[in-house]
């Protein structure tokens, strides 16, 4: 699978017509104040250690700039005027309070397009720029350069019109009214979004059934558990039938059951209602289960746009083989042993070099084999490898 984006295959003529999200050459930089990195005053410390000389009592001699007391603590002995210099001069107050303005590039010339009805995962390590992209798409930020278009509208200029068709959910914040029952928040949304009664009734019924929020509808938002709150938030977001949904960490902090419920619901929503979904998460297995396409961002740059299998190809696409034996270590030429414990051995094998038939032959010849399991490399592992590689590249650079 090539590294080329799936969007490259869309004919230019229909590209814009069919697109739900267009991000073209977007850069976003922030200025941040931070403490000035001051070079270690090695000279001074050297002076301290070199210049310090001890007399027989362990106290400093008069020529020393620094000396050690009997307890071994280091202290400075001042030269006339040097104290003032140290406080107000280089390395003193000026440096302590010295802060510098730095420009941090959160997004650097990022371009991608999302077709209507697509389910796209947006992934990247911490601080890569995922939430910044989400905020740009939701109109919460403006790009430093480039343009953003959602459903053919500019989030900045057509905010009101766009928000009628866009659903936004940030996992770490809620749209629910804290001191009111969930249903009250739903009714509030109906009035604010001006949702027609019939649409509201239909969507309320749908989210109540599919997200199983019948029991919590009349509960105060502040009394809900995290999973319940997320379900209620998701339900609330869908009341106005959004055409595009932006989800930032929707599975954050959810237990296995709540996560499954949410994933199933989102998949169904995308499949049956044709809603375009762009979702970010750190849980790569969840993302793979939900989306068919993944956009990966690292240090503000879009580094991958394609399928999950394509990502595995980049990482080497090494198949994982788990062999359970009676305790003996199986001899499998062409397979790399990753780990083995209590008769369970993990191997890594490149099926392009060692075809599956050959591998099975070798397995059948090995003694003491009780069970085997062949599976694709876990996407978490693939992505961890990639993150690590990108990190090293950046460090080298």
């Amino acid at each position: 699978m090539s590294k080329k984006g799936l969007t490259d295959t869309v004919p230019a003529a229909i590209a814009h017509k069919d697109m739900a999200v267009i991000v073209s050459s977007v850069s976003k930089s922030f200025t941040r104040w931070q403490r000035k990195e001051r070079p270690q005053e090695q000279g001074a410390s050297e002076e301290i250690s070199d210049g310090a000389s001890r007399d027989s009592n362990g106290t400093s001699r008069n020529s020393g700039k620094a000396s050690r007391d009997s307890g071994g603590e280091c202290f400075l002995q001042e030269k006339p005027g040097s104290r003032q210099k140290r406080i107000f001069g280089k390395g003193g107050i000026r440096t302590v309070f010295g802060q510098e303005k730095r420009t941090v590039t959160a997004l650097d010339d990022v371009s991608f397009q999302v077709k209507r009805g697509e389910f796209v995962a947006y992934a990247g390590p911490n601080g890569a720029g995922k939430s910044t992209t989400m905020k740009l798409l939701a109109g919460m930020l403006q790009p430093t350069a480039g343009s953003v278009s959602v459903l053919g509208m500019s989030p900045e200029k057509d905010r009101i019109r766009l928000m009628r068709k866009l659903g936004v959910l940030f996992g770490n914040r809620t749209e629910l009214w804290w001191d009111h029952p969930v249903i009250q928040s739903f009714e509030w949304k109906k009035v604010v979004w001006d949702i027609p009664e019939a649409v509201y009734r239909r969507n309320l019924g749908m989210v109540t059934e599919l997200l199983d929020i019948g029991e919590i509808r009349n509960t105060f938002a502040r009394e809900l558990s995290l999973g319940q709150r997320m379900r209620a938030d998701l339900g609330m977001m869908l009341l106005h039938s959004p055409e595009v949904i932006l989800l930032d960490e929707p599975t954050l902090g959810l237990d296995v059951v709540a996560k499954r419920q949410m994933i199933e619901f989102l998949k169904r929503l995308n499949r049956e209602e044709g809603v375009t979904i762009l979702v970010t998460s750190h849980d790569m297995d969840d993302l793979e289960e939900m989306a068919r396409r993944i956009l990966m961002i690292s240090r503000g740059k879009l580094v991958y746009d394609g399928s999950f299998d394509g990502l595995r190809d980049i990482a080497g696409n090494l198949t994982h083989l788990t062999v359970t034996t009676d305790g003996r270590v199986p001899e499998l030429a062409g397979c790399r042993l990753l780990e083995g414990k209590n008769g369970v051995f993990q191997f890594e094998v490149d099926l392009t070099r060692l075809p599956i038939r050959g591998m099975l032959e070798r397995l059948s010849q090995a003694d003491g084999i009780l069970d085997i399991e062949i599976r694709k490399p876990p996407i978490e592992q693939v992505i961890a490898q990639l993150y690590q590689a990108w990190k090293c590249d950046a460090a080298d650079f």
Partner: protein, 343 residues
Amino acid sequence: MDKTKEQNFQESVRLKSAHVKETASAEKSVPAGYEAFQEEYAVDNDKVFQKTQSCLRKKHSRQKKKASGIRRYFRLLGIYARMDLASLTRDAKFMAIVLTADIVSNISTISGIFLLAWKFGGIGGMDRFEVLFMLAYGNIVMGFLNMMGGCNALFPSRIIGRGQWEHMFIMPLPYAVQLTVGIFPFTGSSSLISGIAMLAMAICHMEAALPWWWPGMLLFQLIVSMAIVTAASYLFSSLAFYAPIQCEEIASTVVYSCDHAKSFPLSGMPPYIRCPLLTIFPAGLLAWFPSMILLGKTTTLQNFYPAVFALFLSLIAAYFFRKGFRYYVKKGINRYSAGGHRS
């Protein structure tokens, strides 16, 4: 002179009618291609008709839109009011505590000044009921703003500092509407109600007869005073765009300090105290100065001062708030406080 004018007018009318007749006869005497001309003329007529119709339709839809916009605005006010009522009446004990606390706090804020005025028969040239009038006026100003300023609309620095403007971005309503519909008519109106009651009492005890336009003047001055508080709050809140943590509570500091200082009658004060309180820290414009205007104790020129000041302050506040907002959407904010969401 008039005769000449009339002659000129008649002459121009004659010339115009002659021109119309000539044009009509010229139209009638089109010999060749008359039918084609007529057709074209007919098409033009249709076009004109269609254009007129579409204009009327547009105008009608604009009016309809406006009406539906107003209806929607009231629906929004209604939902917030309903939520406020629901929140107040969810528990009888809670309701009793809230109402009692509000009444006690309102009485305590004004009682000191009023008792002093009662004891000494007035303060600085204002008699007892004039002082009561001033206190009532101040209560109405702050009471109305408290009622309308639910969801921190009166304290925008809280919204900005807590990173909650992001909730406003995703609502399909103009920001101005979002900030003005969040009313708390039941939990936030005690000050307004007590202010109105005190005002009625003060007016009943005033000796001078009030002119017919006086209620209009009162309403105007109330709006001006509210505009001053709001503008001051928004002006200082614009700092929160740049320093969200440090300035999160700057609006409440400004509003509450004005609120506390507004209750003091400035009549007997020396100019070096009075002037700052009417300019750089305009607490005097929230109750004392407007009350003096309404009681007829100022000159005509002075009557315009609060309105001019409110306009000036509003323009400055609007300029700096917009500037700060532009900075905010460019730079973003790395702060979000979930606990304070819409509270």
